[in-house]
């Protein structure tokens, strides 16, 4: 792929970038102006078009977290269930 270095670098204004794309020295500018500037067009895209795909990983994390939560919730009772001689 020899033509890769010919792709022009597109400069997007600081304020419109997401947090992950902002460089460290531009962080203050981003924080200051990003809070006031609300681009009213993007909410539609974010709500309806760039939706994250649900997958098996997400729901299995949820269920595992639920199991762990129930374990913690039950722990005062489960303490008694350790290796006892007579159950």
């Amino acid at each position: 792929m020899t033509y890769k270095f010919l792709i022009p670098i597109i400069v997007v204004p600081v304020v419109q970038r997401k947090l992950g794309d902002v460089r460290l020295n531009e962080l203050c500018v981003w924080l200051g102006q990003g809070l006031f500037l609300k681009n009213h067009n993007t909410w539609y895209y974010r709500k309806y078009i760039d939706v994250r795909r649900g997958g098996i990983g997400r729901i299995s994390m949820l269920l595992t977290g639920y199991c762990v939560l129930c374990y913690i919730w039950n722990y005062p009772h489960l303490k008694k269930e350790r290796w006892r001689k007579y159950h």
Binding site: G54, L62, C67, C70, Y71, N74, Y75, H77, K80
Partner: protein
């Protein structure tokens, strides 16, 4: 203190917050609500397809007046299935093992069907108390029997659900305990582990349980 196998059914409470609140709120999190789109993604389409098909099946014996119950019964079915299936995960708590919850489902819904029947068509509703073609001497006895059976229905609904789920969970715990105790001795363990796994699959008869629950509820709709 005597620790029995029934302790798993005590409603666990931590820092004063009962776990049952979380366990009941969880099923609503798991199903995505369909957005107002023409064509949805695959998950929502499959979910909608299942619910539609199930509701179709459920509404078959009913006339149009009974279709008002579609929303209630379909959501009840999904709620109960989810709760029971989630209870199969380790350490989780199944709220439907509590008799209070099941009676709380059974009695109001049954009472609603009876009252609606009495209000709209009192003669027909009372007429159900006597099956057709009974010999005349048997009529008084049969009316009493039918009345008793009518009043026992909510009890049966609630207790059936409770008993089935409790029995299932108890069996799982018993067999699992047996497996652990027999671990030093090898061959028995393999057979017992297979039994546990099979029992777990059988406990996805929790789904059939819910079918039975909602269907019996439906049968009492002589709307």
């Amino acid at each position: 203190m005597m620790v029995s196998f029934f302790d798993q059914f005590a409603s666990p409470s931590y820092l004063g917050i009962p776990l049952i609140a979380v366990a009941i709120a969880l099923p609503w999190v798991l199903y995505p609500t369909p957005p107002a789109r023409w064509i949805n993604n695959r998950l929502i389409t499959i979910q909608g397809w299942f619910i539609n098909r199930f509701t179709n099946q459920l509404m078959l014996p009913l006339n149009v007046g009974g279709h008002k119950w579609a929303l209630l019964l379909a959501s009840l079915m999904i709620f109960l299935i989810t709760i029971n299936m989630l209870g199969l995960l380790p350490y989780t708590f199944t709220p439907t093992t509590q008799l209070s919850l099941n009676m709380g489902f059974a009695v109001p819904l049954w009472l609603a069907t009876v009252i609606i029947g009495m209000r709209n068509q009192p003669t027909v509703a009372l007429g159900h108390l006597l099956p057709e073609g009974t010999p005349i001497p048997l009529i008084p006895v049969l009316i009493i029997i039918e009345t008793i059976s009518l009043f026992i229905r909510p009890l049966a609904l609630g207790v059936r659900l409770t008993a089935n789920l409790t029995a299932g969970h108890l069996l799982i715990q018993l067999i699992a305990t047996a497996v652990f105790v027999l671990l030093p001795m090898m061959p028995t363990v393999a057979i017992l582990t297979a039994a546990v796994l099979f029992l777990l699959t059988l406990l996805e008869v929790a789904v059939a349980m819910i079918q039975a629950y909602v269907f019996v509820l439906l049968l009492s709709l002589y709307l």
